[in-house]
Subunit: 283 residues, 2 copies
């Protein structure tokens, strides 16, 4: 199954057997005071800067989240989506839990976007999926519901199935639903990542759909987060993940390396091209 996204002129294909798709995570004010302030002041130069840096680093898509307490996201989200969509030729992932803000952004987004996200809660399924259908988008489905985030990979997989079924009923095919198996930090529960890896394997085996990672949560609260994030990307890519919302300025080389080692980069062409344009500093 392939998930096809588009910008003004470019197409990105998320493919379980293809090279990994990198969705830049940095246009998100959570924990980024400078971005939060810029969004509140309606000054988008810093957003432009983050977009440009992530694209230079190797992002295939950009996630856009404007969730600042008190900010009118119904007004601001479409402004930022429109600006990034017009000024940067890269497909967008619209990141909001507010259906009004989502619809406003969907109306102005160029190309074909990925919606981040729906989950297994009835209120989410019934409000997000119709918008995904109406605007011919694709969607990330988080494996959580009214009961929270289950610890059992089988139960997470059952929520994935429910999301896929509800989407199918509206005419949204499995190709257009990217399942996010969710990962909590191993700092709080040392089994957290193992549960996610098992969920990835199950979802991949049972449904064959694309799988997204929010790859930086796993290390929250622990020292040397980069090492854990890198390790998790390798483990999760082998388990079957096909895209991640992550930091392209840090992890693109590792991801290109995984593509090569998984047999998805003939003649190491992309790996070497990335190296030549992003040489590693000698330590």
């Amino acid at each position: 199954m392939q998930t096809i996204l588009q910008s003004k002129t470019k197409t990105v294909k998320i493919d379980p057997n293809g090279p990994f798709t990198i969705i830049g995570e940095k246009i998100n004010p959570t924990g980024r005071k400078k971005l939060a302030a810029a969004l509140q002041e309606g000054k988008f130069d810093y957003v432009r800067d983050l977009a440009a840096k992530q694209i230079a680093g190797g992002a295939d898509m950009l996630d856009i989240n404007v969730g600042v307490p008190g900010l009118d996201d119904v007004a601001v989200l479409p402004q930022v989506v429109k600006m990034v969509g017009e000024e940067f030729d890269i497909p967008i992932c619209i990141d909001t839990s507010n259906p009004q803000a989502l619809e406003a952004a969907l109306k102005v987004a160029p190309g074909r976007v990925l919606v981040n996200s729906v989950n297994g809660e009835e209120s989410s399924l019934s409000r997000i999926l119709p918008l995904v259908k109406e605007y011919n988008a694709a969607v990330i489905g988080l494996v959580m519901d009214e009961n929270g985030i289950p610890n059992d990979p089988e139960v997470r997989c059952a929520i994935a199935e429910k999301i896929l079924e509800r989407a199918a009923r509206l005419g949204i095919p499995g190709d257009d639903v990217v399942i996010d198996p969710l990962v909590l930090t191993v700092g709080a529960d040392s089994n957290a990542a193992a549960i996610t890896l098992k969920t990835i394997e199950l979802v991949r085996k049972n449904f064959g759909v694309n799988i997204n990672l929010g790859a930086s949560n796993v290390s929250f609260g622990l020292p040397d987060r980069d090492t854990l994030n890198v390790a998790f990307l390798g483990l999760a890519i082998h388990a079957g993940a096909s895209c991640a919302i992550t930091d392209p300025t840090k992890y693109t080389a590792l991801i290109k390396g995984c593509d090569l080692l998984m047999g998805r980069d003939a003649y190491a062409a992309k790996y070497i091209k990335y190296y030549r344009t992003h040489p590693v500093e000698k330590v």
Copy 2:
């Protein structure tokens, strides 16, 4: 299945479901002129230095190879094995293709060693396995034979089966045979690592035995080898590898990270302990 190795007083368990076992690769003169010269001169201080640094870096075992052209390995290998075994309390992996040197080293090695290696060739099976049995050692089995290193993971797996069967006939149980699926560089064949990963999965599924990686070959001839080596460790650990002959001074943090993410490090205790004793430099 568990492979149990011993030094003078310590026991190391290689376990498919346990934390990953790191076998330090550096006491090997291939490509290390300073070590080659030291071995030829019979001056072992540099060997001591390499042993100490690898143990400080996180090695669980040390590989010992004295293969220098013209060097009398039947004389030198046991000297080095005896010195390391007596001065450092860490299990040893005796690395030689010469049965005479192997036997001489087995006679003086303390504890229970890992022999590196037997392969599927008749001459290797018939000469190495009886020594492994006689000296109650464990052995690494390389999946190659008279026809070379096959490209087909199923054929590599069949060689693993042959090695396991021949060992069993001599009374060497599967616990004491660590299969090495072999990895060639992706610089020469961009499918090389994918073949190895598939072999790991097959061997693990079919036989349940421990699996070793010679983890640094994969990146030979390519730029930014560290990134590829790190990526490969993550992918291979998820595929089922349980130990590697690698550089503990570079890759231990990543491996401890993988252990934690695979759910093999309760309360992140080992990860945090390693970090505290080996803090990461801020870049």
